[in-house]
């Protein structure tokens, strides 16, 4: 620490401006004041760091080895000298006396001020876990932290970065470039969730993993391990990760202690008005330490605006600060990520989405009322500033809207703003389909040769048959070549979010080995950020079916009944239907049901059309307790209203009935025990009748068995319901075991090939009985493989979801977040424990 105390000379009539904080905002404010009136103030700056004013945001490139400290200095020693600014560095201010109008530093210097500017920035937030004070646990805020990281990296070993936001990822990148083995822990499900939507967050995670980092999302830190130095990090789920260095980058808090102690008004930050004046008119504040209009800040752009307003105020111009939108870029070489404004959509907002899987590009522009309100760009951020500019200027984009997503070059091309005109203007050699190398000339020739739909084009010249991103161009070419009216509609798309049909999506999931919903949406160019209530449940099912035991079910993509394992009723209560194997029950179960009905005051209990008992009027909060009682009596979840096996209806059969030919009851129970819990494209019902009198109505079930003297007739594709369809006879087999295998193989074929929400009846009408028979009958090996795949998948899905919930899983689905009892005038709020 070096300084010579400044004594105001008697002739020094200028007011004394003292600045606390030698960082980005403090020095910029001084620059702005000097630019307006270089002679008005005498300036002294205190800085806690023993350095001159440098560009904090460039610490990341310094860590990554792309810049040196000298290259990131904003104002060197000569600046202070040239402007007669006194810099007192390496000596933090420890007290402000507003009455005496003085500040005192740690080293004991007391200086008087006429105006005081507080620009103390932020403190990194340290999560309050055991071990946080161990040597080797640091934050990422200043040059000292960077030096610490460089020293650790020189020793090698592994680092854990806690926090998958901008700062954390930049730290992780730098450390990994410097040779450390890096694990990023992020508590949220996707990275940088405050700047990026899920799709972009997913792409980013993939890219970081491809670069060798380990990224754990949904990772909640429980403790930092080590005795004399950090050795690792423990997560709440019990995982332990070894580490020689832990970087905490979970957020920042405005640095307000000094201001608070001085009695200034402080909320989350130091409260300032539009001219950056605090509750004391002689004291101003600027930068990350302030709270303006309820907002605090963590990026530099708004701070520059604050500095301008502040300097205007200090030099009597009084422009006033108005917050505006901000944009972010991740400073990791080779990973282009940009986000700006508000991308939450909401009222009247429309998303324009472009996904190019082959080039790893995702772009999303959010438009409301012909104005851009937000943008997220991944992979190609060249147009980020253009979108941001349109956003800030509130430009009307109605005229360029259709071409907006293609970027500035395309959208501003005057007459080319109409995408169809742009396609028309392409030369015959222009490549339309990058995947299959098809030119415009070839596509047009193939349309002229009779391909009058997108599908026909895909079938003939392969354009848009692979990744599908050129589908819209092919559609334009069809319309241009044939005229709008003559284009034939292709098969129905899954929903408005995609141009693909169900079959295409299923095929590509398997062919490309896709593993998650965001991955499917990216690779297949979804036009919405996170799908809709039609496609999400379908994708969840397709992935579940393709990756038994591996795919992690997405609860939020399930319809309420499958999420709650009970059936929602019109008044918001639920009905509960415990499974009754084959329609059989016993006194213990009946007693448990009776007890539940009484205990929870259920208004109704009824025998269903599926041979079981349905208890009505249960509140969502009571469901786990009801299930606990039913579980205790040995009953499991009914999957009562899921797209899954419902019931196996049986009749009394040979055991009691004078006409019975086989043990239909016993076999029904066996089938239900083998098939329950399986997720299907739609609900699935089975029945076993003991003789052709068919009391179990097996011939209107998805799979029905009619027992006869010589064996078992297997019937498929029946449906009661809206449009009654009697079953087709699939085959007749001699033994129970063969009938069971047939049932499993049939279910698996249906699970793998039917479209979501297509029951077996319409599916068989579509593909034909002959096709189903060809897959199940002639080739015993193929049939056995189908059955084996079914049972493999069953080995993961036959868990009782009720039991898990009773144990406390997903408690949040059942308990309210808070309870509020209004007792005016004194409010009382009782929170749930």
């Amino acid at each position: 620490m070096e300084y010579s105390p400044i004594m105001a000379s008697p002739t020094e009539l200028r007011e004394h401006l003292v600045v606390i904080g030698n960082g980005m905002a403090g020095c910029r404010a001084v620059e702005e004041v000097l630019a307006r009136d270089p002679n008005r103030y005498r300036v002294t700056i205190f800085g806690a760091e023993p350095l001159v004013n440098y560009n904090r945001i460039m610490l990341s490139p310094v860590l990554a080895g792309e810049k040196t400290f000298d290259e990131i200095v904003i104002n060197g020693a000569d600046w202070y000298a040239d402007n007669a600014i006194t810099l007192i560095s390496g000596d933090p201010v420890t007290a402000i006396d507003r009455e005496a109008r003085t500040v005192t530093s740690q080293a004991g210097v007391t200086l008087g001020y006429d105006r005081l500017l507080i620009a103390t920035g932020s403190d990194p937030f340290i999560i309050p876990v055991p071990g946080r004070d161990l040597p080797g646990v640091i934050s990422f805020r200043d040059m000292k932290d960077v030096d610490h990281m460089l020293a650790a990296a020189a020793r090698g070993g592994s680092a854990v970065v806690i926090g998958g936001g901008l700062l954390g990822l930049e730290a992780a990148h730098g450390l990994s470039l410097r040779g450390m083995k890096v694990t990023v822990l992020h508590i949220m499900p996707t990275l940088m969730e405050r700047q990026l939507d899920e799709a972009a967050g997913w792409l980013l995670k993939q890219a970081l993993e491809a670069r060798g980092q380990t990224v754990l999302t949904g990772a909640d830190t429980a403790a930092i391990l080590g005795d004399s130095h950090v050795t690792g990090v423990a997560l709440k789920d019990g995982t332990e990760i070894a580490a020689d260095l832990v970087v905490m980058a979970v957020g920042i808090r405005p640095c307000t202690a000094l201001a608070r102690a001085a009695g200034l008004e402080v909320g989350r930050g130091i409260k300032v008005d539009d001219h950056m004046v605090t509750s004391d008119p002689r004291v101003l504040a600027v930068g990350e330490c302030v709270e303006h209009d309820g907002q605090v800040y963590g990026l530099v752009a708004p701070l520059w605006d604050m500095c301008r307003a502040l300097a205007d105020g200090l030099t009597d111009a009084h422009s006033g600060y108005r917050p505006s939108a901000t944009s972010t870029k991740l400073k990791v070489a080779g990973l282009d990520v940009f986000s700006a404004g508000d991308f939450s959509g909401g009222d009247g907002a429309e998303d324009i989405v472009l996904r190019d899987a082959a080039r790893g590009i995702y772009k999303r522009v959010v438009v409301r009322g012909d104005r851009i309100v937000g943008a997220v760009l991944y992979g190609d951020t060249a147009d980020g500033n253009w979108y941001f500019d349109l956003l800030k200027r509130q430009e009307d984009v109605a005229d360029i809207r259709d071409a907006l997503i293609f970027g500035q070059a395309f959208a501003s091309g005057g007459g080319q703003a109409d995408p169809k005109a742009a396609v028309a203007a392409l030369s015959d050699d222009a490549e339309i389909c990058g995947c299959n190398g098809v030119t415009k000339g070839k596509v047009v020739a193939c349309i002229a040769g009779g391909a009058h739909s997108v599908d026909a084009v895909r079938g003939t010249c392969k354009a848009s048959a692979s990744c599908g991103s050129c589908t819209n161009i092919v559609e334009s070419l069809l319309a241009l070549t044939l005229g709008e009216g003559a284009v034939e509609a292709g098969p129905k798309t899954m929903c408005k979010c995609t141009s693909f049909g169900h079959d295409d999506v299923r095929r590509e999931i398997v062919a490309q080995g896709m593993r998650s919903i965001p991955e499917v949406m990216q690779k297949l160019h979804w036009s919405t950020p996170d799908g809709c209530s039609s496609c999400r449940p379908a994708l969840n099912y397709y992935l579940l079916c393709a990756l038994p035991g591996e795919y992690k079910d997405d609860q939020q993509s399930r319809f309420v009944n499958e999420r709650m394992h009970a059936n929602i009723q019109k008044d918001g209560t639920y009905s509960v239907v415990p499974r009754m194997w084959g329609g059989l029950t016993n006194p213990r179960e009946l007693r448990a049901i009776a007890d539940v009905v009484e205990k929870y005051d259920a208004p109704m209990v009824k025998v269903t059309g599926g041979q079981r008992l349905d208890i009505f009027g249960i509140k969502k909060e009571d469901l786990p307790a009801v299930w606990a009682d039913l579980n205790a009596a040995g009953m499991v979840s009914g999957h009562a209203y899921g797209k899954s096996l419902r019931t196996v209806k049986t009749c009394v059969g040979s055991e009691w009935c004078r006409f019975g030919t086989q043990d239909s009851t016993g076999f029904g129970v066996k089938i239900e025990r083998a098939t329950w819990g399986s997720w299907m494209p739609h609900k699935f019902k089975i029945a076993v009748s003991g003789c052709p009198r068919n009391c179990a109505e097996a011939t209107i079930k998805d799979f029905g068995v009619v027992c006869v003297d010589s064996g078992y007739e297997c019937h498929v594709g029946g449906n009661g319901g809206i449009k009654v369809r009697a079953t087709d006879l699939l085959c007749k087999v001699a033994t129970e075991a063969e009938a069971m295998e047939m049932c499993a193989a049939f279910i698996q074929l249906y699970r793998e090939e039917a479209r979501y929400l297509e029951r077996t009846a319409p599916w068989i009408e579509r593909v034909g009985l002959a096709y189903v028979q060809s897959r199940l009958l002639p080739d015993a090996e193929a049939r056995a493989e189908l059955a084996a795949r079914f049972f493999h998948s069953q080995s993961f899905s036959q868990d009782d979801p009720w039991a898990a919930r009773v144990e406390g899983a997903e408690r949040e689905m059942h308990a309210p977040m808070a309870r509020f009892t209004p007792v005016p005038p004194v409010p009382a709020l009782e929170e749930m424990a």
């Binding site: 939450s344 909401g346 996170d530 209530s533 918001g572």
Partner: protein, 112 residues
């Protein structure tokens, strides 16, 4: 401040693309939603169509699909989207240091 806003808990307690409820004695629940982008919204837990529990629906983009008949309701305005017409009262929300606060007056009014 305390009088105007009700602190109902940590934002992390609401599942992403999901929702939680706040029980209001003597009135309908308030449904508090968190979107894929982490934005938080609150609506009366009652669909303008036939009073379905919106908290139990599928959240996508900035909307929720009602579990009863699949109307889509905007989380920001409570308006039914698409062809459907109707509106559910909105309860203003703000986030502060990871806590979710909902507007007391609107809660009382909505639930009245």
């Amino acid at each position: 401040m305390i009088g105007d806003w009700l602190d109902i808990g940590w934002v992390d307690e609401i599942p992403v693309r999901g929702s939680r409820t706040v029980q209001v004695e003597g009135g309908d629940d308030i449904a508090v939603f968190r979107t894929g982008e982490g934005k938080v919204f609150a609506l009366l837990d009652r669909c303008p169509h036939k009073h379905g529990r919106l908290s139990q629906g599928i959240v996508h983009g900035g909307a929720v699909a009602c579990p009863l008949h699949n109307w889509r309701i905007s989380l920001a305005t409570g308006e039914a989207l698409g062809e459907d017409r109707g509106c559910t009262p909105v309860v203003p929300v703000k986030l502060s240091g990871g806590r979710v606060l909902i507007c007391r007056a609107a809660t009382l009014k909505a639930a009245a």
